[in-house]
Amino acid sequence: MSTHAAALDIPIAGTKADRRPGMGRLTAVELRKMVDTRAGFWLQFAVVTLTVAVVVVVGIVGHAQDHTLRQMLSAALAPASILLPIVGILLVSSEWSQRTAPITFVLVPNRARVLAAKVAASVVLSLVAFVFCLAVAAIATAITAPGVEHTWSLPAGLLGQSLLSLATGMIGGVAFGAALLSSAPAIVLSFALPIALGALGSIPALEGAARWLDGGRSLTPLTEHLMSSTEWARAGTTLALWMVLPLVIGLWRILRNEVA
């Protein structure tokens, strides 16, 4: 520790750089927070290695018709679509469990901007992950060269739907993290809820509702085929319930919460 306070050279009472940090900078900070902790780093590491591993396994054991770009991409996206929602949850909930929320909100008192930056960062990370998965799938398709019909055929609309599926999944994670402000319950719930909904949906009386509200039914077409307008309506309804609503609840809680 320095013995001389003179080593502290702080100009005082200059109004410097007193401009509000822009959304771009806040988004970059949130992306940084996703990877600069131990948990964050290993989650990202897991996404990368599992994606490669899954594609390699499919490439080795699958049949030729599993080796089209479309099938490879579907396999490659599986790890990210499971793990990115957890990254999203932790991005919000860890601010509470690790008690960094006071630091964040002291630096950026407008809490809604912080949550918006977290959502924006989730979109960016989803896009990066998607491009990575697409590249891995393309490389695997080129190597396995299945030689079947439609090897490289992949409608642009389906690409968009797959990206949407990945991004909404991660934003859903942010929403759950914000609504619960606690890591473990949010993660458990994000895994248990789809199972519970699936079980409820198997009750005949509830099947009609499940088509609209159970992501296991309404969101799977996103990655499977170009969706009809009814399917879009169902997916939209599900996202309103399981992504938008928790996000609104989370925003409300974050704005009104005493931050300790």
Partner: protein, 294 residues
């Protein structure tokens, strides 16, 4: 400049901060003193916009803290040194905040040097930090944005004596160059050595408030006599309240001249008579804050 005006905060039916008002001027160090649970932290959290007052208002640099465009560049805050992400490296904890407030990343290293966290320490994850190291990291964090106001909650907690002395020098220097400092403590001597102004809080209420000299002046007289019983009797007869200072002397709530006169009238020979000074301040602090403890 920091201004608290009738700040009041209730949690349920308990009023934890009750009508607290004080001002901290540029160029001064204000010590915010009170036992644990007195309401210091809650008051500070209201000052920096983390907690909403139920009544009254707080201003930092002339307005509500939350209206500062980039508050990290004007106000340095350390609220809870243990509140850092355990899985983040010390250097990274500073670097993230530097990026957020738009401070040159090179400043991170100079602050690590300043607070004495060497390269090995800066590379460690915060979970491996001792309380003293977290405290140093927190002080570095507070100074990161080159602020003109510092709000520090128990910054000396966990620091070793050389660390405490170093921190006092840093704060004194910061204030002497025109900065405003508010630091809280539950230990009088931590604050007494550095503060120009002292605010004492107990049970959520301001118990005493003023310059160190004012508080010392009002802290009474320290008096000793060979025949203590006779002295107590004389003081009682004159209607002056006295109590033991725990070291063979009495602290009397009166000016030395009056005490001397009472002793003369009572025919008691004194062996010591002086303003009570820091001992009296200690007593004052103790009385004001724990005297009415529940």
């Amino acid at each position: 400049m920091i201004e608290a005006q009738s700040l009041t905060k209730r949690f349920g039916t308990t009023t934890v901060v009750d009508d607290v008002s004080f001002r901290c001027e540029p160029g001064t160090v204000t010590g915010f003193l009170g036992p644990n649970g007195a309401g210091k932290t809650t008051t500070m959290r209201m000052l920096c916009g983390l907690s909403r007052p139920d009544a009254g208002h707080a201003a930092v640099l002339g307005g509500p803290y939350r209206e500062l465009p980039n508050p990290g560049r004007r106000v340095g805050i350390l609220l809870d040194a243990s509140a850092q992400h355990a899985g983040r490296r010390g250097r990274e904890a500073l670097a993230v905040s530097a990026q957020m407030m738009g401070v040159d990343a090179r400043r991170v290293q100079s602050l690590l040097d300043l607070v004495g966290l060497d390269r090995a320490a800066a590379r460690k994850r915060v979970r491996q930090y001792s309380l003293g190291m977290r405290q140093r990291l927190g002080i570095a964090h507070a100074l990161l944005g080159e602020p003109e106001v510092l709000i520090l909650d128990e910054p000396a907690n966990g620091l070793d004596p050389p660390g405490m002395r170093w921190m006092r020098e840093v704060l004194r220097d910061f204030a002497d160059r025109g900065g405003t400092v508010l630091l809280s403590s539950h230990l009088l001597h931590e604050v007494d050595a550095v503060a120009d102004q002292i605010v004492i809080i107990g049970h959520g209420r301001i118990a005493a408030h003023g310059s160190r000299a004012d508080l010392l002046a009002g802290a009474g007289t320290l008096v000793r006599a060979g025949n203590e019983a006779a002295l107590v009797a004389a003081l009682d007869a004159a209607g002056l309240a006295s109590r033991s200072d725990g070291d063979g002397g009495l602290i009397v709530t009166a000016e030395p001249e009056d005490v001397g006169r009472v002793a003369l009238d009572g025919g008691v020979a004194l062996s010591h008579l002086s303003p009570s000074g820091a001992a009296g301040l200690e007593q004052l602090f103790f009385d004001l804050t724990s005297g009415d403890s529940r």
